[in-house]
Symmetry: D2
Subunit: 163 residues, 4 copies
C-alpha cells in the first residue's frame, strides 16, 4: 500500500515571518507523523519552509515542480517530480494529496484550493485571510476546515484519516 | 497574426436561468465582435449556453475539453481541443485567452480565475457572488473588473484591447 | 457537430526543401477539403510550412503551442492554444486530431506518432525514414499507412473518413 | 540535494516471462544502489515487476499514474503521483528521471523514449526489438545505449553518473 501523502500548498514569493514559522512547524509535525509531504517544491516562501521543517525531522519530501528542470527547487526536497507544465501542475498537487493543507493565500494557492474542492478533496486552511475562508466555505463548506495553528491542522488530518 | 480569443469560464452543472441567459447573450456579443470564443467546451451550464449564443451569431467556438474524447461536448463547439487532462486543462483555458470572462462561480471556475490572475491575465467577473469578488479583488485588484451585464463585459474587453 | 480536424506533425527545426514543399502542399490540400488543420504551431520547419500552405487556401489553422505564450508561433496560425506544457502537449495534438499525418521524423514527431498509436488513432506517414516505418508498423501495423505524396495522404484520409 | 531518480519505462500489458524477470531484477539492482525508482506506476507488466523488484530490496518507489486516482496502481509503489493526465504524464516520467531505462517496447514506451530523447536525456534500452534500436539510434545515437542485461544497464547508469 502506498504511503499517506499530505499536500501543503502556499505562496512561493516573500512571505511573512508568521507564515514561514507556521509552514516550518507544519512540515516538522507532518514528518513526525510519518506522512509524506508533497508540495510545489520551489525554494522560497511557504514551499521552502514546509520542506525544511519536514527534513528537520527526517521526513520524506516530494516536490512537484512547475519548471522543466530542477532550477529553483527547495534544497529540502528529496524527490523532485519535474512536470514542465507551469501552473497546470497545481492539479497534480491536489490529486496526489490524500488531504490538502493551505498555509497563507496567493493566486496560485487559491487555484490549488479550488482545484482540490473540485476534486472532492478535504482542505484545511491555516493563516487564511477572511476573504478566502468566506469564498471556500461558500463553494464547498463540507470539504473545508479552519485550523488556528499547525498542530490543530495535524489534529484535523488525524481525525479525517480515522473516519 | 492569430485572432483575438476571449475565454468564457463558468460552471458546467445545472445553473440558474439568469446565468444561462447571460452566458448565451455574452456568446452572441463576442461572436458579433468577431472574437473567437474559447471555453471548457462541455455541453451543460454556462459552457453550453455561451457556445450556443456564439453560434447563433455565426462565431467561431473552441472547446478545450477535460476528457480524452468528445463525449459530453457542447453541440455548439466548432473545434474541439481534446486534452485528456481533467481540470489541469483549466490552465490551458486561461493561457490561451487574451482575456478571461467568468460568468457565475463554482469551484472549477474559481480555479480558472485564480490561474488567470497567477498568469497576469485580466479577468472580468459577471454574476459573481460577493465572496468571489472580495477574494479576487484582494488577490489582484488591478487585474479584476466587475461587469453588471454581458454588454458591459464586452465594453470592458474593448476598452482593454484598445489600451 | 464539431469540424473534422486533421493533425499534421513534423519537425520544427531546419528541414529539407522536400519536407517544406510537402508540408506546404499538404496544408493546402487539407484546407481545400475544408478540414481544420491542427499542428504544434511553431514558426519553423514542417509546422510553419503546413500552416502557410493551409492559409494559402483559406483554411482554418489551430496551433497547440508548447510554450506559455505565443512567442515563436507560426504567422499562419489562426487560433493559438497556449498550453505552457512543453512536449506534454504532444498528447493533446494527437487526442484532438481525428487523424494524424506525420511529415518527416524527429524525436518530437516520433513521440507524437507513438502517442497516437497508443490512443488508437490512425497515422499516415509521409517522408518517413525506413527505420520509422519499420518500428511503427511493428508496434501497430493496422493503424499505420504510408503515403508517397501529400495528395496520396489526403486520399487516405478521405478513405478512412468514408469507412 | 534531491536524490538520484532512475526512470524505468516499459509496457503495462501482459508481457513475456523474460521481460518480467528482467524488470524485477532491474528494480532490485536500482534499489541496492540506493537510487529512487520512478515508473508509470501501474500494477501490471514491466511497471509492476520493476516496482516489486525494488521493494524486495527496500528501495523507494515513485509511481506517476495516468489516471485521476490510485486504481490499478502497483502494490509496490510507495509514493503515488496522481496526474489525471493520461499519456501526457509520459513527459513527466522522463523529465523527472536523471536517466531513463526502457525495458521492452510498446507504443507508450516508444513515446517515452522519444520524449526522453527530445528532452536531451540519456536512454538505456533493455530487451528492445531491433526496429526500436534502429530508430532510436537514428534519432539520437549519442543519447542511446544498449544493455544486454539489467546488470549491464546499471553499470551503464553508474558510468554516466560518474562522468
Amino acid at each position: 500500500m502506498s504511503r499517506i501523502i499530505v499536500g501543503v500548498m502556499g505562496p512561493g514569493g516573500p512571505v511573512s515571518d508568521k507564515l514561514t514559522r507556521d509552514a516550518y512547524e507544519l512540515g516538522k509535525l507532518i514528518a513526525q507523523k510519518d506522512w509524506v509531504l508533497l508540495s510545489g517544491g520551489r525554494g522560497e516562501g511557504v514551499m521552502d519552509a514546509v520542506n525544511q521543517g519536514a527534513k528537520s525531522s527526517g521526513g520524506l519530501t516530494i516536490g512537484v515542480l512547475p519548471g522543466g528542470d530542477k532550477r529553483g527547487m527547495s534544497t529540502a526536497v528529496d524527490v523532485a517530480v519535474v512536470t514542465g507544465m507551469g501552473s497546470a501542475r497545481n492539479n497534480i498537487n491536489v490529486l496526489s494529496s490524500d488531504i490538502v493543507i493551505a498555509v497563507g493565500l496567493g493566486a496560485g494557492t487559491a487555484s490549488e484550493i479550488a482545484l482540490a474542492l473540485k476534486a472532492q478533496k478535504k482542505v484545511i486552511l491555516v493563516d487564511c485571510p477572511e476573504e478566502g475562508v468566506n469564498l471556500f466555505c461558500k463553494l464547498a463548506a463540507d470539504q473545508v476546515a479552519i485550523a488556528q495553528s499547525p498542530s490543530e491542522a495535524v489534529s484535523l488530518v488525524e481525525k479525517l484519516f480515522s473516519q
